[in-house]
């Protein structure tokens, strides 16, 4: 796509995001669904920082997403009733875990890397599932809710006003996405792109490959954790399913479906996935089969994703 075209597309995306709560009801949706698109979109874009722009496949990102969710929920329930602090704690918890696990696996590659991330993705699920007294076990964490946002000069009631909470999510999303875009344009992001294109050549150029893969993993995990905190705040609830490997798979399909070589692709994929899941699960009990079939179809017929296909059409 040409540069002005790209700029127009970016403007269109922001326009849609800024107005979404106002037309969502008219097309049969609801504000919470719009918030969920933002949350899942951020999670998929976070994964894609690693998958699409460093070329490393993680199939266990639900771990950091879920740790963010539990970190936020526990902060409000056990520590301080503050939404802002909940977000900070959730992100820190998820980032620390990503840093520790990333350090263990930074030397692995390809399918082996994927498999270890799959397995590690599940450890926090079992902890949340078993540690009943603190996490509520299988029933999840209830008995807490997001708190009004104190901005100093005014207080925003994000608890009762759906739209206010949506715009909080959008603000966090914008910060995260802006940071990701800056990182990708910096020498750091360029080095990571180089690893994706040709790891051996990048190594010969003196790029510390293991360090960059670790760093990309941590950055990606941190943004996934941020999405997780928003996810918990959105429903005032979190349960072990926010840590389950099926969610990790969903993040990957969102990225692939939207187009993992494009910056906005995962957001588009997440929007399609979230709306489809919402629609299918309210119409049939067998939504899992339909989602599964959807995976098979995307892989078989649209491996480049929606934006990947659009881009190919405009360049050819």
């Amino acid at each position: 796509m040409s540069a002005p075209g790209k700029r127009a597309a970016t403007a269109a995306i922001w326009l849609v995001l800024l107005t979404m709560p106002y037309w969502m009801n008219a097309v049969g949706g609801y504000t919470e669904l719009a918030s969920r698109v933002i949350v899942m979109g951020l999670a998929a874009m976070a994964l894609n920082y690693l998958l699409g722009f460093t070329g490393v496949l993680s199939f266990g990102h639900a771990a950091y997403f879920g740790l963010g969710a539990y970190g936020a929920a526990m902060t409000i329930k056990y520590l301080v009733p503050s939404t802002a602090l909940a977000v900070v704690v959730g992100v820190v918890v998820g980032t620390v875990a990503a840093a520790a696990i990333g350090a263990l696996i930074r030397k692995l590659r390809g399918t082996y890397f994927a498999m270890v991330t799959i397995a590690f993705g599940q450890v926090f699920y079992f902890i949340a599932f078993r540690w009943n007294s603190v996490t509520g076990g299988d029933d999840g964490m209830t008995g807490w809710q997001r708190q009004p946002l104190d901005l100093g000069f005014t207080t925003v009631d994000i608890l009762h006003q759906d739209k206010a909470f949506y715009f909080l999510c959008l603000a966090l999303f914008a910060l995260a996405v802006g940071a990701m875009a800056l990182l990708l344009r910096s020498p750091l992001g360029r080095a990571q792109l180089a690893i994706r294109e040709n790891e051996r050549r990048a190594r010969f150029l003196g790029i510390p490959v293991e360090f960059h893969i670790w760093l990309s993993f941590v950055i990606s995990g941190a943004f996934a954790a941020l999405a997780g905190t928003m996810y918990a705040l959105l429903s005032n609830f979190t349960d072990p399913r926010s840590l389950h490997w099926t969610l990790s798979g969903n993040f990957v399909i969102m990225s692939v479906m939207g187009g993992m070589r494009s910056f906005w692709g995962p957001l588009v994929g997440a929007a399609i996935f979230v709306v489809l899941q919402d629609y299918v699960s309210s119409h049939t009990e067998n939504w899992m089969s339909i989602i599964g079939l959807f995976f098979v179809l995307v892989v078989s017929f649209f491996p480049r994703g929606v934006l990947g296909m659009l881009r190919r059409k405009t360049t050819s």
């Binding site: 263990l104 590690f120 798979g249 899992m288």
Partner: protein, 289 residues
């Protein structure tokens, strides 16, 4: 206490045998085709439910014989129609495809046989405890351990002594050369996939006899199988077997002293292995790339 410990070690050994059966099948497919088969748990469930459906007609022993074979046939068809098209592409795609298949298989069994747990009758002769002191030594449990030993033995015999097995092992090392030597690689991968799925189906029938039948029976066994492969060493089948038994016994022993860490202990083991010996206990160096 000793008895409780013995009970849990033995129990862990049985659970470990399930992990090992699952993990061996996963390993076979991963080594030759580079596909992480997420649907393995779904195939396990299919094996279990097929046995349940066949039992009124052919009895327990007949079902034990036929159900894994039928599951393997289903595996051959799935490989031929869906997975074969993805060889040579980024492993991401086969991973996502089998992930979708796992959804479909689990939901399919739930649709046909219902979400609630079903009783899986096993022959009277196998259910009675052999000793009153060691109440946990039922015939079925001993039978399971013996059968798994025989099947694993047979699998290693096939891999080491038959033409098919030697081709599979050669293909694992260098598929291109095997292809140039005139072996039909597409067929080899197909049969290898079927062999792996056979092991999953067999594990399903045995697991159903011990744990009962639920649609989620497979998904609960698949994660430990991944851990078993990593602990044992990628690319090494004896390692996979060892890994499965090891994490099974470790979970069993942990249940006695610290029940809430039953699952976490395998991940601790995996973390330690990755830290101290990244290629796994019996893995060769260089396979991690």
């Amino acid at each position: 206490m000793t008895q409780l410990l013995l009970f849990n070690i033995f129990n862990g050994l049985i659970v470990g045998a399930f992990y090992a059966l699952m993990a061996l099948g996963l390993s076979l497919i991963l080594n030759l085709s580079g596909v992480i088969n997420f649907a393995h748990g779904g195939f396990l469930a299919i094996g279990a439910y097929l046995a349940f459906a066949l039992m009124p007609v052919v009895g327990f022993w007949g079902a034990l014989l036929v159900a894994p074979l039928l599951t393997a046939v289903l595996g051959l068809v799935v490989e031929r129609l869906l997975i074969r098209r993805l060889y040579g592409r980024d492993p991401l795609y086969s991973l996502l495809l089998t992930f979708g298949l796992a959804y479909i298989l689990e939901d399919g069994t739930r649709y046909i046989w219902g979400a609630q747990s079903l009783p899986f009758p096993i022959p009277q002769a196998l259910t009675t405890p052999l000793s009153s002191e060691f109440f946990f030594l039922t015939g079925y449990r001993l039978f399971m351990v013996a059968l798994v030993a025989v099947v694993v033995g047979a699998m290693f015999y096939i891999l080491n002594r038959t033409r098919l097995g030697m081709r599979i092992r050669a293909g694992t090392l260098d598929l291109e050369t095997v292809s140039v030597l005139g072996v039909n690689v597409a067929l080899l991968r197909n049969l290898n996939f079927g062999l792996g799925i056979y092991l999953a189906g067999l594990a399903g029938v045995l697991a159903a006899g011990m744990l009962g039948l639920q649609p989620t029976i497979g998904t609960s066994l698949i994660m430990p199988s991944f851990v078993a492969i990593i602990v044992g060493g990628l690319g090494s089948l004896p390692g996979t077997l060892l890994g499965g038994l090891l994490i099974g016994v470790a979970s069993g022993v942990t249940t006695v002293y610290f029940p809430s860490a039953t699952e976490a202990v395998m991940y601790v083991m995996m973390g330690l292995v990755l830290l101290l010996r990244p290629q796994g206990l019996l893995g060769e160096e260089g396979r991690t790339q």
